[in-house]
């Protein structure tokens, strides 16, 4: 069984996953290393994030893909001793420049987490939270409705906006979290294994939703599910864990390319091994 035949089965005939070649670069990582204290978790990552495209980060566990994702909106700042080397730019601005406020960064680069984490508040208040803290008071109802519609959740919850967000099913909770994230109109949405806690049907809904959202937003998704990356993303970054000569493990970006290329004709042997299941 050659690698090519097995890979082709991974990709459904999905035209929407074709990258738009003219897309602008919204974010650019240049030689980014992430440290926790003295430990270098990820080493030397260089890749672009293109506008209105879905970029997937895949790789075996411990390869640092989530770590890189969290450095994109400075969520790593919240961990004691975490710091980065290299530069990450957003619209050509260095995100880690001294005058940059992480709060402003996170306002524009939203995030959806692995486990659905709605606040223990009503559905309405969950979505309104980000609007309220940002001082947006006009047409709150309309904005909440729009966010819920855009998250493909409105029809399911319109009659019970005042019930707790925690009363929804796992998939609905995750879409609520997406609604909450898009309500504040960020430019980029980071998704950290958003479907790993969901069943296949709920996963399918979120994947469809991601296609819709990519018209308005730029999406970066970390996933351990290669089929998912193949189905939804335009670009794929393959990470792996390497052991250096001092026997320390580091995450490392092996290859970044169009998703189609990565899954049919990867440049690197390690990528091919991973996606054909010979590794990881």
């Amino acid at each position: 069984m050659t690698s090519v035949t097995s890979i082709s089965t991974l990709i459904p005939g999905n035209a929407s996953a074709m990258p738009t070649s003219s897309a602008r670069t919204v974010m650019q990582l240049t030689d980014v290393s992430v440290f926790y204290g003295a430990y270098e978790a990820v080493r030397g990552t260089t890749m672009p994030i293109r506008e209105h495209q879905i970029t997937a980060m895949i790789g075996p566990s411990g390869c640092g893909k989530s770590t890189v994702l969290r450095s994109l909106n400075r969520m790593n700042d919240l961990i004691n001793g975490a710091r980065i080397q290299g530069t990450i730019t957003f619209h050509d601005q260095d995100l880690y420049a001294p005058n940059v406020d992480p709060i402003q960064v996170r306002r524009r680069i939203g995030m959806v987490f692995q486990k659905p984490n709605p606040f223990p508040k009503s559905i309405y208040e969950n979505v309104a939270y980000g609007l309220r803290i940002n001082g947006i008071k006009d047409n709150l109802d309309g904005r909440v409705e729009k966010a819920l519609r855009d998250a493909a959740l409105w029809d399911e919850v319109k009659g019970k906006l005042n019930t707790s967000g925690l009363a929804l099913s796992g998939g609905q909770q995750q879409r609520l979290c997406i609604a909450r994230a898009i309500a504040v109109q960020p430019e980029v949405i980071l998704m950290d294994e958003p479907c790993s806690a969901l069943d296949p049907i709920a996963t399918g809904k979120i994947e469809d939703l991601m296609h819709e959202l990519s018209r308005t937003f730029t999406i970066v998704i970390v996933t351990h599910n290669m089929q998912q990356a193949a189905r939804v993303s335009h670009y794929t970054a393959f990470f792996t864990a390497e052991v250096d000569d001092k026997q320390v493990r580091h995450g490392r970006l092996v290859e970044f390319n169009d998703t189609g290329r990565i899954f049919t004709n990867p440049n690197d042997k390690r990528t091919e091994d991973y996606i054909t299941g010979r590794f990881g």
Binding site: T87, T89, F90, H91, D92, Q93, D94, L95, A97, N99, V100, D101, I103, Q104, V105, R108, I133, G135
Partner: protein, 303 residues
């Protein structure tokens, strides 16, 4: 990238990410909240430092060997030492209370963690032990007054020890149970696999494994008990000479003497109260540090 941070280059597409772009109101509220938190720490910390300063400043000149050993002047107005009887009283009353409460408390904790676990009785005892820590010490004094002092017909040091033991008991039970819970189950299973009975496992394996933690908790309970005043005043009476006998005659402690001398109108009495306060805080400090030291060793051994 060098041009990016220049403000002139910013357009709608290059958002201003600086702190200054955050609305003033949000920044102000955030800053105020942080300031208030720091202020709260100072609001508790500054008075604490003042207490320590005053006790030191007013007590250091008074406490010497004579102060620690001489009898208490019968007339409060008389200047000069000492607090000997109160030092002795504090040590023997607290010591007796520890002897009474620690074995009982540890055994109670063994029941809760090794036998009772989540049974109804164990949960009731746990809750009631928590509740008992909240019983005012003066009520405990009244209780011992009724069941012991009225029965014996005399206020004694032992009555005070009983009252302190009652106050220490729930503290020791809860802290010891906490420590027993930290003992890994593998130890118990290993011992049981060798054919040891439950009580043997508990006495020779579980308790030794938790002993430093239990000791540390007991030290803290002793420190707390040494600072109790109300039950002493109610059930121990007062003396001006050293009474080594817990079972006969009144007794006194440093706390009771501080209480008594603080409200006297005489400078000499106030001086002795400050001296007693310094002595008491030293005793409490010794036990607290001892507890920390022992707990610290335990933590290292655990790793």
């Amino acid at each position: 990238m060098t041009t990016a941070t220049a403000p002139a280059k910013r357009s709608a597409a290059t958002p201003d990410l600086s702190r200054a772009a955050l609305p003033l109101r949000r920044r102000a509220i955030d800053l105020t909240a942080r300031l208030l938190m720091v202020l709260a720490v100072l609001a508790a910390g500054v008075p604490l430092l003042l207490v320590i300063y005053h006790v030191l400043a007013k007590g250091v000149g008074i406490v010497d060997l004579d102060f620690l050993t001489a009898d208490i002047p019968v007339r409060a107005r008389v200047a000069g030492p000492g607090m000997g009887p109160a030092v002795v009283g504090t040590l023997i009353i607290t010591g007796a209370a520890a002897l009474l409460s620690i074995p009982l408390g540890v055994l109670g904790a063994v029941y809760l963690n090794e036998y009772g676990k989540q049974s109804l009785l164990a949960r009731v005892i746990r809750t009631m032990a928590d509740v008992m820590t909240g019983v005012p010490s003066v009520v405990m004094g009244l209780f011992i007054l009724v069941v012991w002092v009225l029965a014996v017909g005399e206020q004694t040091g032992f009555a005070a020890a009983l009252a302190l033991a009652c106050l220490m008991l729930p503290v020791i039970i809860r802290s010891s149970e906490e420590m027993l819970r930290l003992v890994p189950d593998e130890l118990r299973q290993a011992s049981a696999a060798l054919g040891a009975r439950r009580w043997r496992t508990t006495v020779s394996v579980v308790l030794p494994a938790a002993i430093s933690g239990i000791t540390s908790g007991a030290m803290l309970a002793i420190a707390r008990a040494a600072g109790e005043t109300a039950p002493i005043v109610v059930v121990a009476g007062t003396v001006t000479w050293t009474n080594w006998n817990l079972f006969e005659g009144n007794n006194t402690t440093l706390t009771a003497q501080i209480f008594k001398n603080a409200v006297e109108p005489f400078e000499a009495a106030h001086g002795r109260a400050w001296g007693a306060a310094l002595t008491l805080m030293m005793i409490v400090l010794v036990f607290t540090i001892l507890a920390r030291f022992i707990a610290g060793r335990f933590a290292i051994k655990n790793r």
